[in-house]
């Protein structure tokens, strides 16, 4: 196991290097002088020159990259062009919010997806099975932002059960979390159903039944435990995707998340903010995937064969 983990971490390094390179290149790929982009278009000549020498923009690209990466690993993502605050401060607040939202979403999605998937598999081709698979089809086909608007229309505007947007109490998170988690609950339900159907047909389940175990024990103790192994991967992946998809929910419900921060950064040409958001979200996604792989290997020893 430690060898497998070490191998996976080593495989990660080139990807993280690539991600940092993409984020670094942003400033050099957009049209315009990087020093002016960083100083802001209204800045005077003296300030532009100061930025140029502070960031080493007059030096070779590889020196600039080393300057960039050594600061990033120390948590220094530069200063936001728009509000002159350290980018790390903005990222911290916004990122924690997105993680909170994604976490609640995956809990809701997991709860709905697992229950629907297990019942569907034990009652294959029943009305419940058909209904939940049709529900799953809607889940993966509905645009997050439209579902968000519909939820807002029904539960905030008409029924007034939940606030229609903004940050504050736990209630503010419920509708955005449902909108963000709908597609994932569909994927988890489909995966759980398929995985359970495969396990239920195995010999040891037949043996368990033949030994007179109660159906509940057969399904929830013996079958679900093994069927869950591939579902774990889906959980990890879906949680990772939520970090990206959250940008749409955050926009619909006017929430202060990191995705929204990045989009605002693009509009305001606030490149340090865009670079920081890119780097943070991609690195987190890569690490979540790593943890998912390790969890998968832990639960299914056959994975470590390589």
């Amino acid at each position: 196991m430690p060898r497998y983990i070490l191998k996976r971490i080593l495989m990660l390094l080139p990807v993280l290097f690539g991600v940092s390179l993409v984020s670094f290149s942003l400033l050099h790929m957009v049209p315009g002088d990087p020093a002016i982009l960083l100083a802001g278009e209204q800045a005077d000549e003296a300030f532009i020159n100061k930025v140029r020498s502070d960031y080493g923009l007059d030096r070779p690209l590889y020196v600039q990259y080393i300057h960039f990466i050594t600061h990033v690993v120390r948590g220094d993502f530069g200063i936001s062009i728009r509000n002159r605050e350290p980018v790390i401060k903005l990222l911290k607040e916004r990122f924690l919010f997105t993680v909170q939202l994604s976490f609640l979403s995956i809990l809701i999605a997991g709860f709905i997806g697992l229950i629907a998937g297990v019942i569907s598999s034990t009652k294959q081709y029943s009305l419940f099975d058909h209904m939940s698979m049709i529900g799953a089809l809607f889940g993966i086909s509905m645009p997050i932002f439209w579902l968000g608007l519909l939820l807002m229309l029904v539960f905030s505007v008409q029924l007034r059960w939940f606030p229609s947007g903004g940050k504050g109490t736990f209630l503010h998170l419920i509708l955005p979390a449902i909108a963000l988690g709908a597609a994932s609950s569909a994927v988890i339900a489909r995966m759980t159903r398929a995985s359970m159907l495969e396990v239920i047909r195995q010999d040891y389940i037949r043996t368990a039944r033949a030994n007179g175990l109660k159906e509940f024990v057969v399904i929830y103790k013996h079958a679900l435990k093994n069927a869950m192994i591939p579902v774990i991967t889906v959980f990890g992946l879906e949680f990772g995707y939520m970090l990206g998809g959250a940008v749409l929910t955050e926009t619909v419900f006017s929430l202060p998340g990191v995705g929204r921060l990045m989009v605002e950064g693009i509009f305001q040409r606030d490149y340090p903010v865009v670079q920081g958001s890119m780097l943070l979200v991609a690195t987190t996604f890569v690490l979540v995937n790593l943890l998912t792989d390790i969890a998968y290997a832990f639960f299914d020893p056959r994975i470590r064969y390589e």
């Binding site: 690539g18 439209w146 608007l149 495969e198």
Partner: protein, 287 residues
């Protein structure tokens, strides 16, 4: 040679037979056909010009005159949704074509030559895949800037890794097969082996992926336009229309209902059809 043609026709008939028995796939196929027809015939079937409005009739609910009502600028929603189909189809076709061509080439090269080429290509794909979902497309827009052309490029690049991985996997399993060895033994060039033998035999997963990607690309592209990073107003694009409708959710909820419904239906059509194709082309994949 005739035997080969007959075998292929037989295979095609078998796939068609399986597809016809799959009701969900037929439903998906009908939705897709309707969508394409509406998109192509848009200029002939719209009741009003999509970008001309009558401010006196702004936000009016569905009526006989305006079947789906009007938007905040008094433009006919039905006409805008119909034109939106045209924009969506254009984005889907161009983006998926970019991904298909680039991804397939990379997958063929990596899978066939292996070694350093494969390593570099796959690490590049890993880097693209390190950005979760729509975040990759947003990051590309951050470099290119908003707009229709950049949106199509972003949505295209976003889908390249999926094609590259699938084609590579297919090449890896095919290149050890006897008929490829035979082709090599009779002195066929690498290009000929790749394009005459390997590519045609990898078509099933490519066709399935192309269909399913049409759905993903529509979701991504309309999402980008909703964020203001894609197609810009006044173009009648479904995501941009929804973004515009947000401010009128209370006074005119119909403005936010129609474009979303259109996106969902088309995505569902491609998903159903793609799933059906997968079951028919490769029955082993069916659960």
């Amino acid at each position: 040679m005739n035997e080969v043609v007959e075998a292929k026709t037989g295979q095609f008939r078998e796939v068609l037979r399986r597809l016809r028995r799959n009701r969900a796939a037929i439903a998906g196929g009908i939705i897709v056909l309707l969508f394409v027809a509406v998109a192509l015939l848009a200029p002939f079937i719209v009741p009003y010009p999509p970008n001309e409005g009558d401010l006196a009739k702004r936000l009016s609910p569905p009526s006989r005159e305006h079947l789906l009502g009007t938007d905040p600028l008094g433009r006919d929603l039905l006409s805008r949704v119909i034109y939106g189909a045209r924009i969506s189809l254009q984005i889907q076709v161009v983006s998926v074509a970019i991904a298909l061509v680039v991804g397939t080439m990379l997958g063929l090269l990596g899978g066939y030559y292996g070694g350093a080429i494969d390593h570099v290509i796959m690490r590049l794909m890993d880097i693209l895949l390190a950005f979760p979902g729509i975040f990759l497309a947003i990051s590309i827009i951050a470099v290119l800037g908003p707009g229709l052309v950049n949106l199509m490029l972003a949505a295209g690049i976003y889908s390249v890794p999926q094609f590259a991985r699938i084609v590579r996997g297919s090449v890896l399993s095919l290149k050890e097969k006897e008929f490829i060895e035979a082709a090599r033994a009779v002195g066929e060039s690498d290009g000929s082996i790749l394009f005459r033998y390997i590519l045609p035999n990898s078509m099933a997963p490519i066709i399935i992926q192309t269909t399913l990607r049409m759905a993903t690309v529509l979701l991504t592209a309309s999402g980008l336009s909703f964020l203001g990073l894609g197609v810009q107003p006044p173009t009648a694009e479904w995501g941009a229309m929804l973004s515009n409708a947000r401010a009128y959710l209370i006074t005119a909820p119909h403005v936010a209902t129609v474009p979303g419904l259109a996106i969902m239906l088309v995505v569902m059509g491609f998903n159903l059809f793609g799933d059906g194709l997968r079951d028919s082309l490769d029955p082993r994949l069916k659960d």
